[in-house]
Symmetry: C2
Subunit: 244 residues, 2 copies
């Protein structure tokens, strides 16, 4: 062990848990991130193990599992303000539910859990898990990696209240031929960009209360690009894709 | 908010996360606890919310979900010793797997996750969630409670390597008529005791390396009782059930 776990930092702030890995993903800001994992199944991302855990032994046998859990910190959230209720976007943003009855990021302990597809493990230059289906911000600290156990975790008979079905694609996304060509250029080092743009904007990332008569131009950051779009009559038009 | 979250304790030890609830369960020691949730589906347990979260608003809407996730601390484990591999009981205890390829309790950050059945919520004297199917030690600190989302969490196509199927009942459990009568007395304030004894011992909680030619008498603590048994030729005989 090269670094202590469960000890106070020298600067006086406390951290009982230290990250074992960090997320690399195309999502560089919260706006636009699918609200649950698996909504956008093709999103490529990586879990980069940190020292002293970046060793082959630590993941021995993990390749036999198709899916893994990531236990993460919602690190980009403001501190919990003590509010016991939140307004889930799924309910139009105007109905309050208990903080423990939702999966929102603003909660007493900002711990998240996501099941993702394990695509492959890269053993060159440390250990990198290549994953798909994540809903995680680039730079997210990972506290734990666990195999998904089908018999324990897949509860077929579960009923999930107001959130039983996944949110549906809400918007048709239009991109001009010229912009498509530009995106194809960008795709050389940003895999799946065009498909990602369509899926992320299609889920309509705008706040629920904005969805009527909205003339604003919105920007979603994907990889290092700012994807700007506007919405009218259920159609989202991408107006610009530029490095930010 | 009556107590700060995310602050260092006065004694110098650190805790970034504070419990929001605590588990009450029949499992008063690690030995005998099913190795995954749901193996013993009838185990009644409770999640008792702690102040300031023991308010009705904090769980508003949770009753619409049949299952919930508990994010907990494996609080009875010794500190992580830096070992990158563990010996899963499922593999007979003689094969080493990466710590991130197993669900064992001895891991870099001792965080556990269990999906349990939410039976009902009791609003008398604070907030208590009555659950079934847990694999948690009495007194376990709970960091988070989240609704189980069927569309996000139940991955039907997942393949789970060496742990795809649940462990099977391994032992036939014999209990004398006299002991059964005594257990029925005990059951008045310890719901489901007899069934619990048969299931817990049936899963054979003995260490894997002990399973051959074993003449020891073992004790499992369930509620406040010591349940003593011995094993021969695939049959476990309960020899004593006494308050401990």
């Amino acid at each position: 062990m090269q670094q202590p776990i469960h000890t106070a930092k020298a600067d006086g702030t406390s951290t009982a848990f230290s990250p074992v890995a960090v997320i690399r993903s195309p999502f560089h800001e919260k706006f636009g991130i699918p609200r649950q994992p698996g909504l956008i199944r093709d999103v490529p991302a990586q879990v980069v193990l940190l020292p002293p855990f970046n060793r082959k032994e630590a993941v021995r046998g993990l390749e036999d599992f198709t899916h893994i859990w990531l236990i993460v910190q919602f690190h980009a959230c403001p501190p919990f303000d003590g509010s016991m209720t939140v307004r889930p976007p799924r309910l139009g943003g105007n109905k309050r539910m208990g903080v423990f009855a939702t999966r929102g990021t603003h909660r007493p302990n900002p711990i998240g859990m996501s099941v993702v597809t394990l695509v492959r493990i890269d053993y060159e230059e440390g250990i990198t898990l290549h994953i798909k289906g994540g809903d995680l911000l680039d730079g997210t600290p990972v506290y734990d990696i666990k195999p998904y156990l089908h018999y324990a975790d897949a509860v077929h008979e579960a009923k999930s209240g107001f959130a039983h079905s996944p949110p549906q694609i809400e918007l048709r996304v239009e991109i001009s031929k010229e912009l498509r060509e530009r995106c194809k250029e960008f795709e050389k080092i940003r895999p799946g960009l065009l498909s990602l743009i369509c899926q992320v904007i299609g889920l309509d990332p705008r706040p629920a209360f904005k969805k009527k008569d909205d003339v604003r131009i919105y920007g979603v950051k994907l990889y290092d690009l700012d994807v700007r779009f506007k919405v009218k009559d259920g159609v989202a038009t991408v107006v610009e894709v530029v490095p930010c």
